[in-house]
Amino acid sequence: MTTNSLPVRTDTPVRTPVEKPAGRGGRRLLRQGAGRQHHAGPLAYVLLVVMAVLSIFPLYWTMVAASTDNTRVSQTPPPFLPGPNLFSNLARAWDEAAMGKAMINSLIVAGVIALSTVMFATLAGFAFAKLRFKGRNVLLMLVIGTMMVPPQLGVVPLFMMMSELGWSQQLPAVIFPTLVSAVGVFFMRQYLSEALPDELVEAGRVDGAHSLRIFWSIVLPVARPAMAVLFMITFVHAWNDFFWPFVVLDMTNPTVPVALTQLSAGYVRDQSLIMAGALLGTLPLLAMFVVFGRQIVSGIMAGAVKG
């Protein structure tokens, strides 16, 4: 890759740059030396704690507001401790705001999009990383170029297409346009260039395996960790996607973010219900972040364009 008007280094190691605490000979996974290694002083800790509080507080407060009732929420000073009504409010949000249906819809949409993104990104990433073919670099540049195309611009024709296909208000209308992702292709290419030894692909060739076979039995096992990370990140994006689902779906068949707008659309606002809905819609992803935080962090960092 020599064409380089883009800030993209293609030879950066893609490993999980998660460091062990200092001492105990923490594994240094980044080969190029991990920047500065000063120890954090008290001021740094204070600032970091402030940042963490600022990040987490709005969600904590969502939980507080979802667990009280409307009179308590709208008093001053505002409540800072959870009240007794969390589960009853969650149940109301589930029933009244169509959150139940929305959750299932979002699960289907995000699941299918994440699966297909991972599959096609691994296929294309493998081809770009390890196979030689005419126009490879041009096509790769094209992939990177497509990252620059904002999805909103084509929304009018897309809407027309969907109504022509009879998919308006249907989940396929949300799923199809996002079946692939340029960022995903690039991410897998980066990872496989690094993690998949050429010799392995060679060996497969010598054994007379065809490309798909090589992909299936050699590439997939190597790519698995990156695939898991890409799956999660894509899932997050698809779950939270707002503009297009809002345009093409209606309240009878919403995804979670679309259902949330319904909660607050009236003149009279039931604040506890709104917050319960917001909490419900965020919980699945929060759970994922609690369990797989390390992988998601390293995935985002690995996908970063290094300078």
């Binding site: 800030p7 611009l153 960092m301």
Partner: protein, 331 residues
């Protein structure tokens, strides 16, 4: 490089796979042909799905948008397109709502992007220290990224509520008069920017952190040997070292800023959502696009707004390029 591909290119036969070594020439030739087909064709088959989906659902709509913008199309009758040439553009140019939305998009874009990236830089610097619980801090700064636009906007709308919102309560407790965050133009834009900043600062910080960790340690050693202070090291080693990532985040944030939609829509809850406030005081181009198409049923005009958004992006990046050119000339 791959020997098999060089073979395929030079037309040499690959070793016959085991089991066909019966001297049967046709079989071997067929398998050689298959092999060559596979080596040449498979990569295209592997990258094809991406390009097919992109062409159908991203590229084609993008091009078709410009065609639609030259027509009158009603939402109720999408198949009836009346040619009006550049009328939509002329009307848009003379429409004060468009200039208002354009200007709002620019101002909200600036007040959300600049502080966001500055804070991300600071946060990345902090995260780059060796410390206890570093994973916790990294995951914590990603929590907002896990929150959907809708949920985040709902929460912040409550926090910025005029009568019982937490912000006004806090201001009141130090003796400052309450602010009408929704009805006044600048407070509304600040509040909307706050939602954007909250959601994306941590994510950008992680991108910067990854780039910071790729800076060779020798550069820091050299700088400290030259007697550079910590601050000097930060400005002369760290920031130049992650320059391309900074450019990358500026590009992404700019694209994101022109597309701003969910935050103002939900912030203006209910009746004021699509219009971006009673006086359009925080209507962005994204909201205007939606209002024209799905509230006023004018798809042609909606496509015109989309095209104007695209032109705005192109202009911004052209300007950026130009500034870069001029600066490199003067230096």
């Amino acid at each position: 490089m791959a020997t098999s591909t060089t073979k395929a290119l030079t037309g040499e036969e690959p070793p016959a796979p085991p089991g066909t070594a019966d001297g049967g020439k046709t079989a071997r030739r067929r398998s050689a042909l298959l092999h060559r087909l596979d080596v040449k064709g498979a990569p295209f088959a592997f990258v094809a799905p991406f390009f097919i989906v992109f062409a159908a659902f991203s590229f084609y709509p993008l091009v078709y948008t410009s065609w639609i913008s030259l027509h009158d199309v009603e939402l109720a009758t999408l198949d009836v397109m009346e040619w009006v040439a550049f009328d939509n553009y002329v009307e848009l140019w003379g429409d004060s709502r468009f200039w208002n939305a354009l200007w709002n998009t620019v101002t909200i874009g600036v007040i959300s992007t600049v502080p966001q990236l500055m804070m991300a830089l600071g946060l990345a610097h902090l995260l780059n220290y060796r410390m206890r619980a570093s994973l916790f801090f990294r995951v914590a700064s990603l929590v907002p990224y896990a929150t959907s636009v809708a949920a985040a906007a709902l929460v912040f709308t409550m926090i910025f509520e005029r009568d019982f919102g937490m912000i006004n309560w806090a201001l009141g407790s130090v003796g400052i008069d309450p602010v009408d965050w929704e009805a006044d133009k600048w407070p509304a834009q600040v509040a909307i920017s706050t939602i954007v900043i909250w959601r994306w600062t941590g994510y950008n910080a992680l991108l910067y952190l990854a780039a910071m960790q790729a800076i060779p340690a020798e550069r820091y050693e050299a700088a400290s040997l030259d007697g550079a202070s910590r601050w000097k090291q930060f400005t002369h080693v760290t920031v130049p070292g992650i320059r391309s990532t900074i450019v990358f985040t500026i590009v992404l944030s700019t694209i994101g800023a022109t597309q701003l939609f969910g935050e103002p829509l939900i912030f203006g809850q209910g009746p004021n959502g699509v219009t971006g406030g009673a006086d359009n005081q925080y209507q962005t181009l994204g909201l205007l696009l939606y209002e024209e198409g799905w509230k006023n049923y004018q798809m042609g005009r909606s496509a015109t707004v989309a095209w104007a958004m695209f032109m705005l992006l192109v202009l911004v990046f052209a300007a950026q390029r130009l500034i870069k050119r001029l600066r490199s000339r003067t230096s």
